[in-house]
């Protein structure tokens, strides 16, 4: 299964995602931001980082690059799309998921392990978890505070994917740190599943995000 990993100037953890995709048996390939045609790929992952230096707003400039049209085509063809950290901010800026990830409440960059609740298991990335399962994955961001004007809609449509369990480090609305589109195909999460996919790194709780893509269709 070919999975495209999108690279912008300033992307990071792209190689971590590549490594984990290989571990679960996928065939990852890097794709540069100016690629328009993504028809070769069966799933897309936008990794973390600081695309375009986070200028203007985190993800704002990546959100207007040509590859976004290719990603929209993938979505309309029913292919899963995952945005991690900066990838999540980009998907929110594009409007493929509702709301926004903005400056942390304490105005600090937070890098720590967090306990998370898997709220929705309707996405390809969370389908192998149990609903309300508690998992451990790290966060590393300065702009991760989730905000939406339509919280009730998110609840009604089962679009809340992940929330912080014991504490809410960045001040997110209802401790939300992962959301998806209505169908559940496009998933945006601030925590890093690729950094928690091998027990030697402290947790392999994130690995199912990648295993879930395999044989999805």
């Amino acid at each position: 299964m070919k999975v495209g990993i999108i690279r912008f100037p300033g992307s990071n953890c792209d190689r971590d995602v590549f490594h984990v995709l290989e571990l679960v048996g996928a065939k990852p390939e890097y794709v540069w931001w100016n690629t328009r045609d993504l028809s070769d790929y069966e799933a897309i992952i936008i990794p973390g980082g600081f695309s375009y230096g986070d200028y203007l707003r985190a993800g704002a400039i990546a959100a207007i690059t040509p590859i976004i049209d290719g990603i929209k085509d993938c979505v309309s063809e029913g292919k899963p799309v995952l945005g991690i950290c900066n990838g999540a901010q980009i998907l929110a800026e594009v409007g493929l998921v509702p709301g926004v990830f903005t400056e942390n409440e304490n105005a600090k960059f937070i890098c720590e392990w967090t306990d998370l609740k898997v709220e929705s298991v309707k996405t390809p990335f969370t389908r192998l978890y149990k609903k309300n399962e508690i998992i451990k994955m790290p966060i590393a961001h300065a702009e991760g505070r989730y905000y939406t004007e339509n919280i009730q809609e998110l609840r009604d449509n089962d679009q809340i994917v992940l929330s912080f369990e014991s504490e809410n480090p960045n001040g997110s609305m209802e401790a939300i740190t992962g959301v998806c589109d209505e169908e559940g195909l496009v998933c945006a999460v601030m925590p890093h599943p690729e950094r928690a996919s091998e027990s030697i790194l402290g947790s392999d709780d994130g690995r199912k995000f990648f295993e879930g893509i395999m044989k999805f269709r």
Partner: protein
């Protein structure tokens, strides 16, 4: 005709502003007691156009497509003709 354009971007009323809160706390460290601190982003550029209203319309489109995030931002646009 050449115009000066100025876009002021602020957070919507009631939105948390961690940058402003940090500035206010820092001012308090210097023993300046201030309240209601806020911050705005200011973007300035020059642009060619047929009329002030046409330019304003174009800049408004820029705000909606890139410069602002409608979920959290309000913005104002100021257009003024450059003196030749």
């Amino acid at each position: 005709m050449k115009y000066d354009a100025e876009v002021r971007i602020s957070l919507k009323k009631g939105m948390l502003n961690p940058e402003a809160a940090t500035i206010q706390r820092a001012l308090a460290l210097l023993e300046y007691q201030v309240v209601n601190t806020s911050t705005v982003d200011l973007i300035r550029f020059q642009i060619q156009g047929d009329s002030e209203s046409a330019v304003k319309e174009e800049v408004d489109e820029m705000c909606q497509r890139l410069l602002c995030n409608p979920v959290i931002h309000d913005y104002t646009i100021k257009i003024s003709a450059q003196e030749e």
